[in-house]
Amino acid sequence: MAWSASGLSRQLMVDMFSSVILANGTGTTGWAGWKNSGTPSSFKVALYDNNVTPSRDDTAAAFAYGGASWVAAGAATGGTGASNSQVYQAVQWPQAGIALATGSTTAATGGAGIAMFDAADLASGTACTISNAYGCFVYNDSITGPVSKQGVCFNNFGTGAAVTNGTFTIQWSANGVWRVT
């Protein structure tokens, strides 16, 4: 019951290649271009404490916000039990997370055979107080089916991050939020 690595959803890849999810589609199954064009899907980033057990091999239903692995229940101070895992503070870094402001899927420069998704860094409000944020969960907040709010990836911070009356920022890697190599 803890974070051990970062990962990209295996089921998401399967769903996209098998057209269960239409990467450039519309409607309930359309992910609408990953923010590149048209009306982009809204991706959100929620924080979790160390009581979750992320797995890239989860089913789509479990790998979704509110699913078995990424429960919506949580506490403003974080880390209060296995069924109470999300870390948030109203307004500052609200429950269900903050939306990625910008982002794009690209073929990364500087490396052959790489596809990646990058986005602008995320910051909370300036009076945020949270603790025990061990990682984040990135999911599509727009779609309602076949699985509502299906997840994309999870990123392991490597330690319990905390802020007190300050700003909580996620600086994404230069390699992006996720990448496939």
Binding site: S4, S6, G7, L8, T126, T129, F157, G176, V177, R179
Partner: protein
């Protein structure tokens, strides 16, 4: 139409409005190096720089005059195949950059990239 017995309305006057032109100047500094900067944006914003005093990491600056310290927290978890972020000058993996102020604490997480292989 003028109603008998009712005094006439005062003439309309153009309201005098004083426009205040705000000159928003924000001065930024870093407790770990000598770099300083000035911005003129009106909305909330922050300023980053590659800090020579903190291993070349991209670090948020603080408003000039703020009493604070900024430290980098090394990543202590097993890295394995994780695509983590490293301090440019030392090559050590960094998990957090923490700014401790008199009235609180900021934290910037250097999130690793989530990866998958097509092989």
């Amino acid at each position: 139409m003028r109603v008998p017995g009712v005094p006439p309305s005062p003439p309309l006057a153009v309201a005098a409005v004083t426009a205040v032109l705000l000159h928003t100047e924000h001065r930024w500094s870093c407790p770990n190096c000598t770099y300083e900067d000035v911005t003129y944006l009106t909305g909330p914003h922050s300023r980053y720089h590659a800090c020579a005093g903190l291993y070349g990491l991209s670090v948020a600056m603080v408003p000039a005059g703020t009493a604070c310290k900024i430290t980098a927290v090394e990543r202590e978890d097993y890295i394995g195949r994780e695509d983590v972020q490293y301090a440019p000058e030392t090559g050590r993996p960094v998990a957090l950059i923490v700014t401790t102020r008199d009235d609180g604490q900021d934290c910037a997480v250097l999130a690793p990239c989530a990866t998958a292989r097509m092989e």
